[in-house]
Structures are given as structure tokens and as C-alpha cells.
Subunit: 334 residues, 2 copies
């Protein structure tokens, strides 16, 4: 190695309200050293996810990120030095490296990844986003042929894949996204049947027009008012797959939940189910094989959104929470 410095991005301060770049700080630290049972890795691509913001609020499915520590995050990384059997220098792995150039990871649970082209697909369609879309839609939403499927944050990394997988499975698909440009991507590039711009100010009416018979499956990425609007348009025995609540991560915790809970859940016999990809990881091979087949056949289009340079990760995450990305956003670190 020619460097002895490890550039890092710290969460300098926990945001009380909206996250800004001022909550982060750059630091140079010494190169970490791998101990027995660990690997030293070089971070290649860092995944930016709405969940990163939730981690700052409180313990969720992982412990909270504390102020003054390296910001947590998953990345595609290359092994520089291995003290773990089964992994060697040059191998690609995915791990919680945090926002830094180099990291030491415990060997337990690390898997060597194939060198696919483009590598970025390992973070999008073959990464958390793709697997989340696959299992969340097919196992939690369970669309049947001819069903009407609605997905929110539809131009995002998960939503853009959910809608396309629902189409492959024979559903009629409506995407909810912010702004006309994103809506155009959904219908013109990604094959959605309709798109609704929630920023246009008439979501209830516009959604009703796009899904006049009601919603069989709602794949929720956002929570809040969009969740409530969809809830009121669910059909009997409909399913709501709760994947995230990005509307509620950045700012004050919401004062109240959606109206209609649990009244409409009873009268329409709905199933509202939350999930975390982790619960399905034992079946990831099955999903990856199917996703690769669909991508290979051109049936699944992958949108990616690259931010250049570790120092731009804070700006990238702030922008992601404001909804500026189309497709999977990641940071090219090295």
C-alpha cells in the first residue's frame, strides 16, 4: 500500500430535525490493521439508503449510529489483506464498512462475490435493493396476475424494481413519485402502466384515476400521507407490504399515524405486513438467479445514480432524502 491515511466521514452531530451536510465531518485516521479472523478492505462503492437516516434516530433493526463515530453504511469492498480462511486479496465482499476508504471487517458472514459487470449491479439489482424488491413484492405483497399494484418512491432503488417485477408477474402497475420527470421515467423507460406525481397536490384523485378499481397490493416505501391515501383505496383482502417509511426518517417523528388504522384494516380485511430483507437472506440465491435471468433477458432495467468521491457522501444522502435520485444511489469511493 502506498498510503497510510484513511479518510473517513463522521456523523459529527445527530440531527434534531432535517439532516444537512453540516452534521458530517471529514477526518483522516491511521490505516486500520486486520487482526486474526478479520480482513482489511478497500471500499469501492458505498450504498446510500434512506435507512441510513433512520439509523441516526434510534436503534431499529440495528443499533443507532452515535455522534462522533464513522457514519455506518454498506459498501462493496475489495480485500487487501485477509486473515480469514476462504478469502484472499482481490476478492470482492459486501459489508458494513462505514463511510471511509479502508475498513477492517470481521470475517464471519463475509462472502466472496462474483466479479460481475458492471460491478455497481452488486449494490443495486443484485444487492439489498433488488433482493428487497423481490422478496417484499413476491412474499409480502403476493400479487396475482391481473392485480393492481401500487408502489411509492417508485423511481427509487427498490420501487423501480418492484414495479418492473410486478409487471413481469402480470400485474397492472401504478408508480407514485415526486415530479413529472420521474413519472416520465416510470412510464416511458420502465414500463409502468401509469405514474402519479404526489407533488402535483391531488394525490387522492390522481391515484383514483390511475387505479379506478382500487388497489390489490400497495408496496409502501414512505409511510405518512401517501400510506394513508393508498389505505383508503385498498380493495377487499388487499395486502400492504411495509418496506420503509422514508417520509418519517428525516425530521421530527410523526405526531400521528394514518387515519383508517385499524378501522379500514378490519372492514376491508387487509393484511399490513412489515419486513426486513434480513429475514429472507437464506433464500438469496434463488432471488439472485431470477433477477440475473430477468436482467439478461432485458425484462428488468436497472437505473443507477452515482455520486463521485467519498467526500460527497453527505451531500448524496441529503439529496437522496430529498428525493433527487432516480434508481439506486451510491458513492464511487475508489
Amino acid at each position: 500500500m502506498t498510503t497510510t491515511v484513511n479518510r473517513q466521514v463522521l456523523l459529527a452531530e445527530k440531527p434534531a430535525g432535517k439532516l444537512g451536510v453540516e452534521h458530517f465531518r471529514l477526518r483522516e485516521a491511521p490505516m486500520p490493521v486486520a487482526g486474526e479472523g478479520e480482513v482489511l478492505v478497500r471500499v469501492r462503492y458505498l450504498s446510500l439508503d434512506a435507512a441510513n437516516r433512520a439509523w441516526m434516530q434510534a436503534a431499529t433493526y440495528r443499533s443507532a449510529v452515535d455522534a462522533g463515530t464513522v457514519m455506518a453504511g454498506h459498501a462493496l469492498a475489495e480485500v487487501l489483506e485477509s486473515r480469514v480462511p476462504g478469502l484472499a486479496a482481490g476478492d470482492l465482499v459486501m459489508g458494513d464498512t462505514g463511510w471511509q476508504q479502508y475498513a477492517v471487517l470481521p470475517g464471519a458472514g463475509l462472502q466472496k462475490l462474483p466479479r460481475l459487470e458492471p460491478l455497481t449491479h452488486l449494490l443495486s439489482v443484485y444487492g439489498i435493493a433488488g433482493l428487497t424488491a423481490y422478496f417484499g413484492l413476491l412474499e409480502i405483497g403476493r400479487p396475482k396476475e391481473g392485480d393492481t399494484v401500487v408502489v411509492s418512491a417508485a423511481a427509487g432503488s427498490v420501487g423501480s424494481l418492484v414495479g418492473q417485477i410486478a409487471k413481469i408477474r402480470g400485474a397492472r402497475v401504478v408508480g407514485i413519485a415526486g415530479g413529472a420527470a420521474k413519472c416520465a421515467v416510470l412510464t416511458r423507460e420502465l414500463g409502468f402502466d401509469a405514474a402519479v406525481d404526489y407533488k402535483a397536490g391531488s394525490l387522492y384523485k390522481d391515484l383514483k384515476a390511475a387505479a379506478p378499481g382500487g388497489i390489490d397490493v400497495y408496496f409502501d416505501n414512505v409511510g405518512g400521507e401517501i400510506f394513508e391515501t393508498c389505505l383508503f383505496q385498498m380493495k377487499l383482502h388487499g395486502r400492504i407490504a411495509c418496506c420503509g417509511a422514508v417520509s418519517q426518517y428525516d425530521g421530527e417523528p410523526p405526531a400521528h399515524g394514518p387515519r383508517g388504522v385499524p378501522g379500514l384494516i378490519v372492514t376491508r380485511r387487509l393484511t399490513v405486513q412489515g419486513f426486513i430483507l434480513h429475514d429472507f437472506m437464506a433464500r438469496s440465491d434463488e432471488a439472485l438467479a431470477q433477477l440475473q435471468k430477468w436482467v439478461g433477458e432485458g425484462r428488468l432495467k436497472v437505473r443507477e445514480d452515482l455520486v463521485e468521491g467519498l467526500e460527497n457522501a453527505p451531500r448524496g444522502l441529503v439529496g437522496l432524502l430529498a428525493g433527487e435520485n432516480v434508481g439506486k444511489r451510491m458513492v464511487h469511493v475508489s
Copy 2:
């Protein structure tokens, strides 16, 4: 027949807020006459249910009850005259007779019921309440042995059975009810492990003390703040069976839903599922056989709460919505 008069209770006016006896009116109408394919019945016991109140608000799983019409309601009735094959005078049936002494019912869907003793059990443990508790708990809540099951409106017709069935299935059972007297019935008579009085003003803390490890299955009869409190104490992969929302039937529709929806549903991977007994009616024989066995063995205790006289049905329903009953409330009409 010695009478030619049919006493009826009308919903005189739709309540804008809380239901009162002033919203009802007594009337004497001529005896109805059964046409071809219909039966004339004498109403014996009229079921009072929180859902009666919901029917006044809007169409739910049935059309709304209009002002100026006979109040809708299910009853155990005896056939006086039959123009339907398979039913004869003296047979017992269950049907939507409405609040009146005599009714004409379409023959389609009517089933002759066994003359059990006491007859009232046909409206409680072998009626909608018993079947709702059975299927709602076992098919929607799905408790496993050792699970912690919490049920609200636990001293009510459904709740009192849910808790006992959960005990039979090996769960630890906590009931939520209003007032010390009801709580005492739950733990001393019905075998609940613990009871929490939501009127004591410290529900979150008291529930935490009664279910320190969290809740695996919450059977919700009430919605609103109790739903929210339980939601925040659910364990990973917990199930919420949504059976009703009695807190929201009597008065203004709620301004907001429970906090934590959908955030907690995601992070704790909860399943929140609504159901209506109707969807399970094809399997009612299976449930009735099991319920009869448990009652016969003394493992399931049946609490009933009788109101005497049709003219007291309005007072009985208003009192039910205020939570004054323990067990299944019904009106003895004749």
C-alpha cells in the same frame, strides 16, 4: 297468533356524535306476511354488538342503516310460518331480523339450529362472538405455545373467549378492560394470567409490567390509543389481529391513526391483519365442534349479559358502547 301488532325499534335519527336512547323510537307496525321463499319468525334473543353502531356511520361490510328504518340486528328467532322447503314452524334460526318482535326473512341462507340449552349460547359462544374469537385468534393471531397474547375489550363477548382460547392453546394471556371489577372477572373467573385496567391512567406502564417481555399476539377490538400502546410493545414478528375498532364507532371519526404506523410495522416485521367472520363461515362446523367440546369440559366459561324487553334494546346498546357489559350482551325479546 293472538296478536296482529309488531312492535319495532326504529333508528329515528343518525347520531352525529355519541349515540343516545333519543336516537331511537318505538313503533307499532302491522304483522309482516311471509311470501313465497320466505319465513315469518318470532324474535327470541336479539344480539347487541359494537358493530351495530358502526353500521349507522357508513357502509362497512354491509350497507348503512338509514334513519327512519327498523334498526338492523341479528337475532335468534323461531319460525312461525314457513314458505321455504326444509324449515318448519318451531325451528330455530339466526338472521338479520332487525329490532322488532316479528320479521320476515328470505329463506336463502337460513339454517335450522339445534335446540341447545341454554338457547342464549347460540348467540354467544356458538354465535358470532364465539366464532369470531375462534377464527380471529387461531387463524389471524396464530399464537404458539408460550406466546404472550394480549386482548382488548377483554371482558366483552369476543375478548372473554379469545383470552380463554389462548390459555387453552398454552399462551400467557393479558386482558385489557375498563375498571377493577372487570379485571377481577378476567383473572379470578376466566383464568387470565393478568388484567390491566386502561381506565387507571397508566396503560403503557401497567401493560409493560403485565407483559414484560413484550407481546407476540395482540387481538384488537378497540383501535385508537389502546391499539397504539400495544403496537409499541409488540415483539419482533408479532401479529395484530384487527377485529374491530369500538373506540372509533361512537362519536366523530378519529382525526388520526396510531403513531408507529407503518414505522414499527417495518422495524419489528409485524403483521397487522383485519378479518370479518364471514370469510371463515365455510368452516363454522369445525369451530362449533371444538367450542362445544371446550364448554362441555368446563375449559371455556361463557359470560352472558341479558337485557329484558325489546323496548330496552336502545339503552342496552348505548350501555354496551360505554362498556358496561361483561360477556355477551343480548336482549330477551320473547
